[in-house]
């Protein structure tokens, strides 16, 4: 193994980069549990002079942010938005990807090329017409509207990823299932889906994080309605209204980050696998 012989310079560079990557977030965390007056008057690093002096920590910022600044409601909203917006496109994409991988039908290749092309269409291109449709149907400011929008925007990647995965399954498997009299639906639910759990898991995490962290889509389709605003939207309006109230902003930012970070640490392996499946080929 080469690992034994890394020169000191390698360690130095890596440690410095890791520090640069971790310090900004650490500062946010520390500040979020300090009293308002302390945050405004001294740097967060000063707590490390006496890290065990517990009087310098407080949860008051979180209490205020959650109950007075609406982050608790936004937290619930984020879940209401994210869970269906993750599951709907996964199911729809799985059906389509299965057909693209294993059925022959006229226009199959052209349609799939269209999906690959749509992967990179900027969302900005679609906002105005969709918003107009939403306004005339009364869908703007509703959860249904945002679920469908995220489903639409997540589909190209989901179809692409799953089609590659389904395509890599052995074809004998399906041949013998059909000889045994299985219908395409049975083949899909009993064979393809169970075998694709790893791909579905990574796609699910991907879509979950994407929707949870989204700002633009919520800003456009949920914009004016605080009762349905998810965390990112709430946080970005707090940045405007709280200005220099760092004790509140840091607490609010941490509330918005806690779920994706937990998901990341718990399921990092699948997340990485999803990224690699989507991008590393070729």
């Amino acid at each position: 193994m080469e690992r034994e012989g890394a020169p000191p310079l390698v360690h130095l560079v890596l440690v410095l980069v890791c520090l640069a990557w971790v310090l900004p977030t650490l500062g946010l965390l520390v500040s979020s549990v300090r009293p308002a007056a302390d945050v405004a008057s001294s740097g967060w690093w000063t707590v490390f002079r006496n890290p065990l002096d517990l009087t310098q920590y407080t949860l008051a910022n979180y209490r205020q942010v959650l109950y007075q600044n609406g982050m608790a409601q936004a937290f619930v909203n984020s879940f209401i938005v994210t869970v269906p917006a993750t599951l709907i496109p996964m199911l729809i994409a799985a059906f389509a990807a299965f057909a693209f991988a294993w059925f022959t039908f006229p226009g199959r290749d052209a349609l799939f090329l269209m999906v690959v092309g749509l992967l990179v269409v900027p969302l900005q291109m679609t906002l105005i017409p969709v918003l107009r449709i939403y306004n005339s149907l009364g869908l703007s400011g509703t959860f249904l509207g945002i679920w469908l929008a995220h489903a639409g925007y997540g589909l190209p990647f989901a179809v692409y990823l799953l089609r590659n995965f389904f395509g890599s399954l052995p074809s004998d498997l399906f041949e013998s299932a059909y000889i045994d009299g299985a219908s395409p639906l049975t083949a899909f639910f009993r064979l393809a889906l169970p075998l694709s759990v790893p791909a579905l898991a990574s796609l699910g995490i991907f879509q979950f994080l994407w929707v949870w962290n989204d700002l633009l889509v919520s800003l456009i389709y949920l914009g004016g309605s605080p009762s349905v605003a998810p965390l990112t939207l709430r946080l970005s309006s707090l940045v405007g209204s709280l200005g220099q109230n760092w004790h509140l902003l840091t607490a609010a930012a941490f509330v918005a980050m806690v779920v994706p970070v937990a998901v990341f640490f718990a399921l990092q392996r699948y997340f990485v696998r999803g990224i690699l499946a989507g991008a590393v080929k070729g």
Binding site: F103, V121, V280
Partner: protein
């Protein structure tokens, strides 16, 4: 596979319907709207495009997007490659990679607040609460208004946030490719007397070049669409405007749907070559399958 066409169509129909409604139709409709006036009533020809290519706000946005294009792409791909190679050589590889990859999980809005706090500025003499100015002051310098100093410092400060978020992504992909280099190839080069640098430039880099192209393309696409970071941190003030944020402003602040559409189309046109590249790369893969 021997199945009826009706099966195939019922499997793909829901996806095609949604793609049509949310991506295909709106794209065409936006192109059409870009030739109409602010309320989409009258035909105005290329007027909105005249605005999109000549107004001072858009020119600033183009300049900044170009700056993002070069600095962001070079930094994420360069750093990502360096980290992929370096982490491969140490035992704490998994920890180092997690730390660098973690910002990918955090929203751009969250990252915006994290970095706004890093860049926080107090006048000289007052105690600094922003990490970066504390470092500058500790080194004997004057505190800097990182997000205010135009035209370069504030744009670079925003780009740093993007780099912080995306470098982990580049690193993960490049690392997978780097680990895929056959060991024999490296051994053979070593036996022939190649040093570490030569090994990197002559063997590793050529071997992973197609992955490098994929990562670079991904980053270019990201850059063109950059929105959240700018929206949250400066909202395009102090000369930090970017094209995507401008589109949002034309749409919601000024309610000029014609101009907003034209700006979106410009963004789209910038991405089309990358889209064609994406399709071509995909077709090549299919041939090799």
């Amino acid at each position: 596979m021997r199945t009826g066409r009706s099966w195939a169509w019922s499997f793909v129909a829901p996806a095609l319907l949604i793609l049509g409604l949310y991506l295909v139709y709106p794209t065409l409709a936006t192109i059409y709207t870009s030739f109409l006036d602010r309320g989409s009533v009258h035909w105005v020809g290329l007027e909105n495009y005249g605005y999109a290519f000549t107004s001072p706000a858009m020119l600033t946005a183009f300049r900044n997007n170009l700056l993002w294009l070069f600095l962001f792409t070079a930094a994420t791909v360069g750093l990502g490659l360096m980290l992929a190679v370096l982490t491969d050589r140490v035992r704490y590889e998994a920890v180092a990679k997690s730390v660098i990859f973690l910002p990918m999980a955090v929203s751009f809005v969250g990252a915006g607040v994290v970095w706004k706090f890093v860049y926080a500025y107090n006048p000289p003499g007052a105690s600094q609460i922003g990490l970066l100015n504390q470092i500058v002051v500790a080194l004997g310098g004057q505190p800097v208004g990182w997000l205010l100093e135009r035209p370069w410092m504030n744009n670079i400060a925003l780009i740093v946030v993007g780099v912080w978020i995306w470098t982990g992504f580049a690193m993960v992909i490049l690392s997978a490719a780097y680990k895929g280099i056959p060991r024999d190839l490296k051994e053979a080069a070593r036996v022939d007397g190649a040093g570490e640098w030569q090994l990197f430039w002559r063997v590793s880099l050529p071997y992973i070049q197609s992955t490098l192209a994929v990562v670079t393309t991904t980053m270019l696409i990201n850059v063109l669409k950059v929105f959240d970071i700018v929206y949250v941190m400066t909202n395009g003030n102090f000369g930090t405007e970017v094209v995507a944020n401008r589109m949002y402003k034309e749409m919601f602040q000024f309610r000029n749907f014609g101009r907003a559409s034209a700006v979106a189309v410009v963004l789209f046109l910038a991405i089309v070559p990358l889209m064609l590249l994406n399709i071509r790369r995909f077709r090549q893969q299919e041939v090799e399958r």
